[in-house]
């Protein structure tokens, strides 16, 4: 067995072992042993991720593990049209793209594990919590390391289950388990589309191996691109359709419209879960899926422009919904929805590295913000309403500083991480080859508005929690160092994280990330060039939007105070708090009809179909009874059978002999 080739495949195995151990023996372990065990296994995975990174950095081709076996039996038609067996293998691949993802997952995952040792202190389900967290990390690693769609799907559904378990972690509360179920079912809708996409890909490419599909572009399949009157180009229909189905699958996992409603509810889970799963890693799986399938999307301009538009609409939707929320985590949740929209804009524009760039920076600052709010919730005794906070600047000095860093980073203030990735997104959509001229500029403008809104609601979040005077009734205290150290590390990453993707005009090769992902996720062809002054104007506008948002927010809060229900008109504030009524619409348009159909069908089944067939049977039985001298029901039935059978047989034979 080739050690070098299989080392990275151990990454998901370690946390999986942790899960097994904790599930079986966790109950007998004393706190904090399960936490330490789980954290160290994730740390070991992180070490493996670093080793893998070093290994794979100089390579052009993905590193494939050699320990693989047949997973899905498949038949494809060969050149002569004869079906031949070509089983799909269960295997992992490490390339530059998955390597970045493994670093994010294990690195941030480790920090959050450590934070959770403090946060979950004293909880009855301490070891169960870490078992689930380890399970999640394992599944997420399978997702990003998979070298085929079905294996990716194992991880994809696995993280869904982990998320289900962790949202409903405090499962004795009906509200939490409702949220968990909603999350899973909405995801499942996306998954059904993902399966549909897989079937189409299989029909088109005769394989489901991701690397084989991606590398078949340029050599074998040249998409037949047609431009219709609106100026939007389309690739070949099966490809566009497959891409569209993948997009819907991705939208489910990444909480994009119209499958976005589960994510804010998912905040019912413990805060480290929100940070790890519902901000930093799992929800970015959809972005990863698009980037991973870059060959398909780069050759499906129509679907790509859909990706951009869905991203843009979601970004606005999330930002507008975040404005008037009063729950410290819900603000961040809608913010996550909105930021995921940004990532979709990026991958839809064809600049896949930009999407991954924002995945990374967002993972830093959003994990930081969530953990900070966890620290705040921890400090104020479980309170989550920002109107009951305020003035925590002095009482929680560490949490305050790191939250400020996080807020400025997500708002896009130079030179923090969010500034660079957001700028990269805006300039890539401005120059995107997809969607025609109109889409590019329109989405760029939407992105700019969202940048303004983001800075606004985040500043509101920060002010209501940390500035002013304390309005609650608890006795806030700073968290222990097991919780603050991860915060500091994430804060540092939020400050410097943007430097992996510096803009081009600063010099050749300053953009490390784009160069690094050149093989694994190359840009789509056909980006427009813009002159340097144009690029500088774009940057200035993005910065102005961020600063403007903060100033505007300050002004509104100074004017209306804490209890200003939303800053703008009351009617809009209400719409924002209810997240633009998307949830209510779903209840009316989807849930209620589904329930109705199932009840009607069940009625039909018991009263219609069953009775009908029952009557038929009874009729036969009565006819039989009148013919029969037997008394017992069972024997009677048998007798009818034999009689009927003989009668029909005799009849048939008689007919046959005449024929």
């Amino acid at each position: 067995m080739d050690f070098n080739h299989n080392l990275f495949a151990l990454m998901p195995v370690l946390p999986l072992l942790g899960w097994l151990v904790l599930i079986v023996w966790g109950k007998n372990m004393k706190e904090p042993t399960p936490g330490i065990l789980a954290s160290s296994l994730v740390f070991l995975s992180f070490v493996l991720a670093v080793v893998g990174f070093v290994q794979v950095s100089p390579m052009k081709e993905p590193l494939l593990n050699t320990l693989r076996w047949d997973f899905l039996p498949m038949w494809v038609s060969d050149a002569k049209g004869v079906l031949v067996s070509k089983p799909l293998q269960f295997g992992f691949a490490l390339d530059h793209l998955s390597s970045i993802m493994t670093l994010i997952i294990t690195g941030i995952g480790f920090l959050i594990h450590v934070f959770a040792i403090g946060y979950m202190h004293g909880d009855k389900g301490f070891s169960r919590f870490f078992a689930y967290l380890n399970f999640f990390i394992a599944m997420m690693l399978i997702l990003v390391l998979a070298d085929s769609y079905p294996v990716l799907f194992i991880g994809w559904e696995g993280v869904g289950v982990a998320s289900y378990l962790l949202i409903g972690f405090w499962y004795t509360d009906v509200k939490n388990s409702d949220a968990a179920r909603k999350a899973f079912i909405v995801n499942r809708i996306g998954d059904a589309f993902l399966m549909l996409g897989m079937f189409l890909l299989f029909m088109t490419f005769h394989t489901l191996n991701i690397h084989e599909i991606n590398s078949s572009f340029g050599s074998v399949v040249i998409p037949n691109v047609t431009t219709i009157s609106t100026g939007i180009a389309f690739g070949s229909p099966p490809l566009e359709l497959a891409a569209l189905f993948l997009l819907l699958g991705a939208a489910g996992k990444s909480a994009q419209l119209p499958l976005s409603t589960w994510l804010p509810d998912a905040m019912a889970g413990p805060t480290p879960v929100s940070a790890l799963i519902h901000a930093a890693t799992m929800v970015t799986a959809g972005v990863y899926l698009v980037a991973r399938s870059h060959g398909i999307f780069a050759n499906a301009p129509g679907a790509s422009s859909w990706v951009m538009w869905i991203g843009a609409l979601t970004a606005v939707y999330g930002a507008l919904s975040a404005i008037a929320q009063t729950d410290i985590k819900k603000i961040l949740a809608y913010s996550t929805v909105s930021q995921l929209g940004y990532m979709f804009i990026a991958v839809g524009s064809g600049a896949y590295w930009v999407g991954i760039f924002h995945v990374a920076t967002h993972a830093f600052f959003k994990a930081l913000l969530f953990l900070s709010s966890g620290s705040v919730i921890h400090a104020v005794g479980g309170e989550q309403d920002v109107r009951q906070m305020g003035g925590l600047r002095e009482k929680l000095p560490t949490t305050h500083i790191v939250s400020l860093i996080g807020t400025l980073a997500i708002a896009g203030i130079i030179p923090l991480a969010g500034f660079f990735s957001k700028d990269a997104i805006l300039s890539s959509v401005f120059t995107s080859p997809f969607g025609g001229d109109f889409s590019g500029y329109a989405i760029w403008a939407i992105g700019l508005i969202v940048a303004f809104l983001t800075a606004g609601y985040m500043w509101r979040w920060y002010s209501l929690v940390f500035l002013g005077t304390y309005r609650g009734h608890a006795h806030p205290h700073e968290s222990s160092s097991v919780m603050t150290v991860p915060l500091w590390i994430l804060a540092a990453l939020s400050v410097v994280g943007g430097f992996i993707g510096l803009p081009h005009f600063l010099g050749k090769n300053v953009n490390w990330l784009e160069g690094f992902l050149e093989e694994a996720a190359p840009n789509a062809l056909g980006f427009h060039e813009i002159p340097l002054w144009g690029e500088l104007i774009l940057i200035a506008l993005a910065l102005a939007a961020a600063v403007g948002g903060i100033l505007f927010s300050r002004w509104i809060i100074a004017r209306d105070g804490v209890n200003s229900a939303g800053w703008i008109a009351t009617r809009f504030g209400n719409a924002s708090r209810k997240a633009l009524f998307v949830d209510q619409t779903y209840d009316i348009a989807v849930s209620a009809p589904a329930k109705f159909i199932s009840e009607q069908l069940e009625l039909a089944d018991t009263h219609g179909l069953d009775r009908g067939i029952g009557a038929l049977a009874n009729g036969t039985a009565e006819a039989g009874a009148s013919l029969s001298v037997w008394q017992s029901g069972f024997v009677r039935a048998y007798a009818i059978a034999v009689l009927l059978g003989t009668a029909i047989l005799v009849g048939y034979l008689a007919l046959r002999s005449f024929a």
Binding site: I23, D70, L72, P73, M74, W75, S77, G81, V82, L83, S85, P87, F90, D123, K124, P150, F153, I154, W156, E157, G158, Y164, W170, Y171, T172, D173, V174, S177, A180, R181, F184, I185, R188, I189, A192, M195, F199, F202, T204, H206, V220, P238, K595, S598, L601, E602, D605, I613, G614, A617, T620, A621, F634, A637, A641, L644, G645, L649, Y652, R656
Partner: protein, 517 residues
């Protein structure tokens, strides 16, 4: 060897019936017999030559005047079901260790013997005899050991089955007579000989009626829409072990029968009626899932989920592609393991709570973590979670259906079933397993009390629910382990299926498959 597999449980049944009144001997004999059969059939499984042919042949003339013989043999499609039969009998006996009637165990052994005969027979009349014999023990198991409406359910079960049997017998006779006269050979019911003359089948008069006569019996057993209505009753009323056998093995008689006899002997008719059968399959998938969602009785819910799962089987078969047939057989084995486990857990649960009503149970995971965890795993397997056997079955069955342009639209529609399945499975998990354990007052993070106004199962103290016993875990473990192994390492089963699926498909005209490059 096969005769041994049929005889051991039959003899054991006699011993069990002659044993003491407390059934102490009977259950031990039952365990021993089914264990021995599991080992023997397991060894045969490992030893099967994967060249696709029939093996372990035994052929003795029985009624030579009319061409009936005792002809048993196994191949890669039937052997997995024989193993499943022995294993599930073993598991069922273990799961009903509290039972004190010796005839209960004797009936299970009879059923095991007959089921093995069904899967092994390659003489059509012999097959029919075993097919009928299977009915009898199941009739008594439901009718005697069932719940309140057991008599109604048992009679309904028998009437449905017999109706199918009559039609099947007519079909079999007509086919055999038809072939013997048009091929000018003596009357025979030998599957191999009939299959040698399969090219003549299409020219027989009334061949469509023969095809439907035979397939209706199998569709009833499968069960397919609209002849599934006996199933919810039978399952709701059957004792736990009965449900395990019913769902785990008896339904597979239908799928197996369609493969072996309808596809094997009527390949052309399978293609002729492809659309009709696909529609039945698709309706079964979606209708079964919707009906399951509306159930208030947990056991009925699982029963309807079988209608959904078997829809994929039918769709896989009628796709007439190697992938589809592979998926169908895989799905049947997976369903036997996973749904068997689901019924077992539901049985263990309702045994403790004395109710099967979903609304009356809550917090069972907190009350019984072991039972809860296994039930959780079984239910997730039931929704086709990747990593468990059901996913491989569903995925390959549907991919196969997608490969054939005729069945492709139905495969796409069937995906809707996957969403609905998630809906009812999670609903059940949430209502039954999650929530506050009844009688417990410690819930640190629980500020919002459940607003449900339904009376929750009341009991005196928090220790009233005892978690799974060692024996119960022993009964569940093999099913769970196999469901996971087959979910991750399909090579433990796929090559067996494929070897024989290829042979079956040889007679099907090559259909245009896929979009060729």
């Amino acid at each position: 060897m096969i005769t041994l597999l049929i005889l051991i449980p039959a003899i054991a049944a006699l011993i069990a019936a002659a044993g003491d009144n407390k059934a102490q001997l009977a259950k031990r004999v039952a365990v021993a017999a089914s264990l021995v059969c599991t080992i023997i059939s397991g060894a045969m499984y490992l030893g099967l030559n994967l060249d696709g042919g029939l093996q372990f042949l035994e052929k003795v003339p029985w009624m030579p005047q009319v061409g009936v013989s005792y002809f048993v043999a196994l191949d890669g499609i039937s052997l997995p079901f024989v193993v499943l039969t022995s294993l599930l009998t073993l598991v069922s006996v273990l799961a009903s260790w509290d039972e004190e009637k010796k005839s209960f165990f004797a009936l299970f052994l009879v059923m095991q013997s007959a089921l093995t005969g069904v899967f092994a027979s390659l003489d059509l009349i012999l097959f029919f005899v075993f097919w009928e014999v299977v009915l009898i023990p199941m009739f008594f198991i439901i009718g005697v050991w069932g719940y309140e409406n057991r008599r109604y359910a048992a009679v309904k079960f028998v009437i449905f089955s017999l109706t199918g049997s009559v039609l099947m017998l007519v079909g079999i006779l007509a086919l055999a007579f038809g072939i013997s006269s048009s091929a000018n050979i003596p009357l025979t019911f030998d599957y191999s000989i009939l299959r040698d003359h399969v090219s003549l089948v299409s020219s027989l008069p009334g061949v469509g009626l023969m095809f439907w006569g035979i397939i209706v019996a199998f569709l009833i057993k499968l069960p397919a829409f609209p002849v599934h209505t006996w199933l919810p009753h039978a399952h709701t009323e059957a004792p736990t072990a009965g449900s395990i056998m019913l769902a785990g093995v008896m339904l597979k008689m239908g799928g197996y029968g369609i493969l072996r006899f309808n596809l094997g002997l009527f390949p052309q008719q399978m293609q002729d009626y492809q659309v009709a059968l696909s529609i039945l399959a698709t309706v079964g998938v979606i209708y079964g899932a919707y009906c399951a969602m509306a159930q208030k009785d947990l056991k009925r819910m699982v029963a309807y989920s079988s209608v959904n799962h078997m829809g994929y089987v039918l769709l896989g078969i009628v796709s007439l592609t190697p992938m589809g047939i592979h998926g169908a057989v895989y799905q049947m084995v997976a369903h036997g393991l996973i749904t068997g486990l689901m019924f077992m857990m539901v049985g263990f649960l309702s045994h403790r709570t004395h109710t099967r009503e979903i609304a009356k149970m809550t917090g069972m995971y907190a009350a019984m973590p072991m039972l809860g965890a296994i039930m959780w795993a079984a239910f997730l397997g039931g929704l086709g979670l990747p990593g468990m056997a059901g996913f491989i079955g569903e995925f390959t069955a549907l991919s196969g259906a997608v490969q054939n342009p005729v069945t492709a639209p139905y495969a796409y529609i069937s995906l809707l079933g996957i969403i609905i399945t998630a809906g009812f499975i999670l609903y059940a998990i949430q209502r039954v397993l999650l929530g506050r354990a009844p009688g417990s007052n410690d819930h640190a993070h629980d500020d919002h009390a459940p607003s449900s106004s339904v009376t929750i199962v009341k009991h005196e103290a928090s220790h009233a629910f005892h978690d799974l016993s060692f024996l119960e875990i022993a009964a569940a473990a093999p099913l769970l382990v196999l469901a996971i192994v087959l979910g991750l390492y399909p090579n433990a089963l796929s090559p067996w299926i494929d070897s024989s699926a290829q042979a079956l498909l040889n007679t099907v005209k090559v259909v245009a498959l896929g979009v060729s490059r």
